[in-house]
Amino acid sequence: MSDETLVEVQDLKIHFFTDEGVVRAVDGVNLTVQRGKTLSLVGESGCGKSVACRALLHIVHPPGRIVSGKILYHRRLDNGLSETVDIADMDPKGREIRDIRGKEIAMIFQEPMTSLSPMYTVGSQIMENILLHTNMSKKEARALTIELLAKVGIPKPERLVDEYPFRLSGGMRQRAMIAMALSGRPNLLIADEPTTALDVTTQANILDLMLELQKQYDMALLFITHDLGVVAEIADEVAVMYLGRIVEKADVDTIFNAPMHPYTQALLRSIPKIAMKREELDPIKGMVPSPYRRPGGCPFHPRCTKALPECSTIVPAITKLNENHLVECLLYEDLATRKAMERPS
């Protein structure tokens, strides 16, 4: 771990204990977020992205539970030293995690229509975050709110501060959400598909805004999306997720130019923009399996075009292709030693 590491997720497992059985929504995830950098988490819908990123604020809701793993948060102290806390270990209702939420780590969500309560004005919902984490008076908090609304590009912020969310467009609401997230001056901003519900033009504007603010505030960004097109624009590093596991992790150029995992390759072939430059548009065959019936061996094997006979029985381990490039696929493992290892058990 370097001094620039902000959050390290280690072997995180989050399971949902439902009546029908246990859903292993996140099943051994490792991630590292660097200060000021953007890590993008990509994968098809249902692969566990939202659940994983909520764990960073410890807001996984029942019947889900963090069953094991660490979420190490490295905090820089005023005296120049730093301390490390384990978020996964905190009481989800306790003071310690509540002081992190909205202040050190902030989050914006996918649904700008429903993420703000229609009962309170936009301004009061932003001020709430400020009043919670600072000693400001209401008047100061209101002034800061107006300033933030202006900063995220909301016209006439003095008027809009007293407006109710349902009177704003989706794009404006998402801007307000961003203003709320910024109000605590977080070190990490988690954005869970923040542009998915918006039209294309608004989507581009919001992305530009987020990139600009990230520089201004020097904050790290954990950007969750199922859209690789967005990843290309925003990410420094990319983690590709499939059925609760990170199957490939590399810097953004490597992911786009030299993807190694068959799932990443298939994802890239399925995006119109990028596929045009390469082969024909080629959607990934098959469906995401039911969360209650995870395939044995490599979870991707029923849909993989390159699957080996061993793929249905042996679970791939992490292979380090180089310092920055990790992949979980048997194609890159020494199968002879793997088999030798499996045999005794």
């Binding site: 909205g102 996918q110 309560s117």
Partner: protein
């Protein structure tokens, strides 16, 4: 908002008018009238039969020989112009006197029942939703269903038995003996309140169970909404968050039902009041309907429906105050 309230107000006036028509017609619907009633009572008590001429005279005296719409018109005109609700054949007094004697009691009991229902049901509903499937949730669900299943008159009878058996006196009525015929005084008010809670709880109990279920269901719907997650991600303490966001949202549908609780409370009151011998409007209304004492019955129904409709209007106003989506439409 003013447009909304104006529309609601128009509905309100219209509804009251429709209710007056319907209730007046309904009261006249059973065969016979008050005169037939007198006749059959006299016969059954061994009296002489009245001559048809005398019956006709009686009918003419009370205006019962006129067509329904004429009777209705006169009735409504007297209420609007003179505040007169007609004559009670049964009590031989102005119907309005009987009504004004009884209505305040009914209003107080209903109000306290209503308070009881809300004060008990809302916290339990919230608890049951937040701790869904906990032991407490199951216990309250079980008790709630019992409350729903046991009719209030049975509760009243059980209560009568217990008070007679263990306290040596049946706690019936709304006043102790020494105050029953005295004029109102501070001591009488206190005595009244002391008696009031018993019927108030009995009448409210059935409604409590229903309200607990509704509150639980409403809140469960809200608990996982994205705005709750947003609030939580700000670091709000859990209890404050609960009250400020999901509970606040879950309450709105209730506010709009306040007005409609009155009829069901009054309906529940009739039976409890008969069993406990309470001087409220329920028993009188019940008897007036039986005896075809039409102006008393019509007057009660009119007043109760006016109260209900006003209650509904008030809840509409409250809803507009509480929910900006309605206020700003």
């Amino acid at each position: 908002m003013w447009k909304y309230l104006a529309r609601r107000f128009t509905y309100m006036v219209f509804t009251v008018w429709v209710i007056t028509v319907i209730s007046f017609v309904l009261i006249q619907l059973p065969p016979g009238d008050f005169v037939t009633n007198i006749v059959s009572r006299m016969i059954s008590s061994g009296g002489r039969e009245l001559t048809p001429e005398y019956e006709a005279q009686l009918r003419a005296l009370y205006g019962l020989d006129q067509p329904v719409y004429v009777q209705y018109y006169k009735w409504l005109r007297n209420i609007v112009l003179r505040g007169e609700f007609g004559w009670s054949f049964e009590y031989r007094r102005d119907a309005v006197e009987i009504i004004t004697e009884r209505m305040p009691m009914t209003a107080s009991i209903s109000f306290f029942s209503f308070l009881f229902v809300w004060i008990v049901a809302l916290p339990i509903g919230i608890y049951s939703a937040v701790r869904q499937y906990s032991i407490g949730d199951y216990v309250f669900t079980f008790l709630g269903f019992i409350g729903l299943a046991v009719p209030s008159f049975l509760l009243a009878l059980i209560f009568l038995y217990i008070s007679q058996r263990f306290f040596g006196q049946a706690m019936i009525g709304l006043f102790s003996l020494e105050y029953a015929d005295k004029p109102w005084s501070w001591a009488k008010v206190v005595d009244f309140l002391k008696h009031l809670w018993i019927p108030a709880i009995m009448i409210g109990l059935g409604g409590t169970a229903g309200l607990i279920r509704t509150m639980r269901a409403n809140l469960l719907d809200e608990l996982n909404k994205p705005y709750v997650e947003t609030a939580r991600s700000k670091g709000l303490p859990e209890f404050k968050l609960l009250l400020k966001y999901p509970v606040r949202h879950a309450l709105n549908p209730f506010v709009s039902t306040i007005g409609w609780m009155l009829p069901s409370l009054v309906a529940g009151e009739v039976i409890v009041a008969i069993v406990l011998n309470l001087p409220t409007s329920g028993p009188v209304l019940y008897r007036a309907l039986q005896q075809q004492d039409m102006y008393v019955a019509a007057g009660f129904i009119l007043l109760l429906s006016v109260l209900t409709v006003i209650g509904t209007f008030i809840s509409d106003v409250l809803l507009a105050i509480l929910d900006p989506r309605i206020r700003l439409q």
